[in-house]
Symmetry: D2
Subunit: 248 residues, 4 copies
C-alpha cells in the first residue's frame, strides 16, 4: 500500500457505516468490517471507482476468533509497518422494542454481543495499531477511536431493557479507554446519535416533517472526521448529533 | 409460611448482602441467593436465631437455569398465593483492575455475567411476583426492586474497562425497568455505593482515617429499607451513598 | 429553649415547607422563614397546638440584610450555645413559563434571587451553626443542609429559560457545599422533586389520574427527615422524588 | 458592509475570544464586545491588517443598558437588512477560588453577572438577528449561538461555590434555548472547556508537561467554527474540549 496509515470501520454496512468509510477513504485506505460481503461490497466498489482504496473483511464482531482472523487479513494487506489512523466502531444490534417480560435471554445477549463484547474485541484489536500510530508521531491527525452511541446510551426507557444496557456499556467502555489511552496520544470519543437516520429503510418515517428532520449519514460522517482532525491540545470525548427539529 | 409477602436477596454473602437480608428479615421471610451455602449459611442461622425466617438458595445468578431452579425452590416454600415485597439485587463481580490490553474476554464476561445478565435474570424472575404484590394492593409498603450500583455505573475509568461497562449496563436496566414498571406500582431503584465498605476484608484500608470513613453495611441496608418504605406518591429512583469524608 | 439543637426552614409556606416544618418539629424547635407571616402563621399555630415549638421569622431570603436580621432574631431565641441540626432550603420562585423573548430581566432575576442568591444567603447564615453542631459531636443525627431542587435543575427546557438557570445554580451550590463541608461533618444534600405537588392550588391538575399521581408533601418531608437521619458512614447527596406514575 | 451576515463575540479579549474572532473573521465581519477597548483593540487591528472586517464595541455584558447600546451601534453599522450568522458568548468572570464562608455577596454576584445575566442579555440581543438569519434560509451555515462553558458547568467543587452556580446557570440557559430555538433553525450549543488555556498569563502552569498539555485557543476556535458549519440535519448541542493528557 502506498500509505502506511489506514482506517478500519466496524459496522460498515449501508447508511452511516458506508458514509464514514467514504469520508475516511478520502484520506486513508479503509477496511470495512461487516458480517457479510453483502453489507460492504457496494461501498467498496464505490470507493474504488472514485479512486480510493477500500477492502471488505467479513467478520462477526462479537466473535474473538473472527476478529482475530480479520486482523490477520488486514495485517497481511497493510504490512508490519503500517499503523491505524482511525478505528471507527459503528456496529449495533437492532433494538428489541419489547415489554421486559417478553424479552428472551437471546434478545438481551444480542444487543450486548455487539455494543458490549463487539466493542471490546474491536478496541483490543485496534488499540495496538493506534498506539503504534501515536508513537510514530502522527504527523497530521491523531490516531482516533470512535464509538457510535445513541440516546439509549444516556437513559434507559420502557421497552428498551435489552438495548439500553448494551449502549450504556459501550459508553462506559469509550470513557474508560479515553481516560487510559488519551494520555498515550490516542483520541477516544463517543458520539450520541439521537434521531432517525435518513436511509432507504426509514423513508416512511417523518416523511411529512420537511427537510433535515432526519440525520444525514454524510453529516454524521463529517462529524467523525472532525473528531479525527482535532489536535491533541483540544480533544472532544463526547458529542451529540441530532436533527434541528428533534425533541430531546 | 405465616405471611404471604417475602423478600429475596441476590448476592447475599457476607457484608452488604447479609446486612440487607437481616434488615428485611425484621419484616419478611427472606430468601438469600448465593452461589454457595458458605456465603449465606451464617446469615441464615443468625436471622433464624433471632426469630426471623431465612432460607438459603444456591444459584449462580448468571445462569438462567439456576435462577429458574431457585425460583421453583422458593415457590414451593412460599406457595402459589405469595407475592414478593422486595427483590434486592446486590450481586457483583469483583472489578478486574487491569490495563485494558491485559483484560481477557473472560474478564469482560465475568463482570457482565453478574451485573448485566444476572440482573436481567433476577428481574425476570422476580417481576411477576412483584406485579402480583402490586395488584394485591400492597397494604403497607410498595413492592420494590433495588439494584446495587457503584461509581463505575456513572463514569468509566482507566483500568476499569471490564467493570464499568457492566455496572453501566446494570444502571440502564434499572432505569428501563423503573420507567416500565413504576406506573404498574413496582418501585424500581438504583443505589450508587461509592466508597470502601467496612468489612473484615477491608480492615487494612483507610485504617487511619478515623470513624465513618468506610461505608457501614447496616447503613446501606437501612437505605434500602427506606426506599422500600417510600409511598407511591414519592418514589426515589436513584440515590448515592458515600462516607462523609469521601472525595467525589 | 429546652434543647440546644434547632431546625430552620426557608420557604416555609403552605405545602412542602409546612410539611417539612411539621416533620422536623417532632424532634426540634423549628424556625419558619418566609416573606410574610401569612405564609407561616397557621403552621406555627398547628405545631404549637400539637406540643411542638415553632417560631415564624419574616425575611426576604434574597436580601442579605433580611437574612442577617432573621439570624439575629433566631440567635436571641436559641442563645449562644445552640447549634443547628437541620437547615432546609425550600424556597423557590414560581417558574415564569414564557417564550424566551418575552422574558424580562425582572423574570430572570426573580428566579435567581431565590434559588441562587437566596440559597447562598441561607447557606452562609446556617453553615456556622451547622459546623458548630458537627463539632459538638452530633450525638444522634448529623447536621444537615438540604436544598429542594426540581427537574429543571437537571435539564433546561423551552419556556423555562429563567427558571432552569436558577435551579441549576442551586444544584451547583449544593454540590459545592457538599464537597467542602461533608468532610467537616455537615451532610449537604439536594432533592429533585419531579412532579406536581398535591396542594390546594393543584387540585384541578391530574384530578382523574387516581391516587398518588401527585407528590404528597408529607412524603417529601419524610425523605428530608430520612436524609437527616443517615449516619456519616453513608450520606446521600442527591435523590429524586416522583410519583410512581410520573413520566420521566 | 459588503455582506449582510455578521458575527458577534462577547468576551472578545485576548485568548479564546480573540481566536474565535479571528476564525469567524475569515468569513464574516465580526463585532468584538468587551468592557474596554484595551481588550479588543489589538485583535481588531490584527484582523483588519489581514484583510478582514472587525469592529470593537465597548459594553459591560451584564448591563442591559450597555448591551442595548452596543446593539444599536452594531445595527447602525450593519443596516436593517443584515442578519447574524454567529453569536458567540465567551465572557466569564474569573473564578473566585475561596472557602465558602470567605465568599462575599459581591463574589457570588460577579460570576453570575457574566455567566448568568450576561448570557441572558447577549441571547436576548442576538436571537432576533439569528431568527432573521434562519428565515433568510441560511444559504450555507445555520445561524449559531454558542456558549463557552467549563467543567464547573457540570459539577460543583469545594471552593468554587460562586463560580459553579454561575456556570451551571449558563449551561441551563444554553439547553433551554437549544430546545426552544433549534426547531426554528437556530443552532444553540454549549462547549465545555476543561483544562488550562495556553495564554501568556498561564505560561508558568504545566510548563514541564510537554506540548499540547494546555488548550490552544485556536483549536477551541476551530471547534466553534465546526459547530457553526454543521448542517441542520445533525446539530451538536454539547461537546467537551480538553488536552489529551488532562485527567477527568
Amino acid at each position: 500500500m502506498a500509505t502506511s496509515r489506514f482506517a478500519v470501520i466496524a459496522g460498515a454496512g449501508a447508511g452511516t457505516g458506508a458514509a464514514i468509510a467514504r469520508r475516511f477513504a478520502q484520506k486513508y485506505p479503509v477496511f470495512l468490517l461487516a458480517r457479510s460481503p453483502d453489507s460492504y461490497n457496494s461501498t467498496v466498489e464505490e470507493i474504488t471507482a472514485s479512486g480510493g482504496q477500500a477492502y471488505g473483511v467479513s467478520a462477526d464482531i462479537s466473535s474473538a476468533k473472527d476478529v482475530k482472523k480479520a486482523l490477520d487479513e488486514i495485517e497481511q494487506k497493510v504490512g508490519k509497518d503500517a499503523s491505524c489512523a482511525a478505528a471507527l466502531f459503528n456496529a449495533s444490534a437492532r433494538p428489541a422494542w419489547k415489554p421486559f417480560m417478553d424479552l428472551t435471554e437471546a434478545d438481551f445477549d444480542a444487543s450486548y454481543a455487539i455494543s458490549g463484547k463487539g466493542a471490546f474485541h474491536f478496541a483490543q484489536a485496534t488499540i495496538p495499531w493506534l498506539l503504534k500510530d501515536a508513537k510514530n508521531g502522527s504527523p497530521e491527525y491523531s490516531p482516533t477511536l470512535i464509538f457510535t452511541g445513541a440516546t439509549a446510551a444516556l437513559r434507559g426507557s420502557a421497552n428498551l431493557a435489552a438495548f439500553a444496557p448494551a449502549k450504556f456499556a459501550g459508553r462506559a467502555l469509550a470513557q474508560s479507554l479515553a481516560r487510559e489511552f488519551g494520555p498515550q496520544g490516542v483520541h477516544v470519543a463517543h458520539v450520541i446519535v439521537d434521531g432517525i437516520i435518513d436511509l432507504p429503510g426509514s423513508k416512511e418515517l417523518l416523511k411529512d416533517a420537511g427537510p433535515n428532520a432526519k440525520l444525514d449519514p454524510n453529516a454524521i460522517a463529517e462529524s467523525y472526521w472532525y473528531l479525527h482532525s482535532q489536535p491533541p491540545s483540544a480533544f472532544t470525548h463526547e458529542l451529540d448529533l441530532r436533527p434541528f427539529s428533534e425533541k430531546w
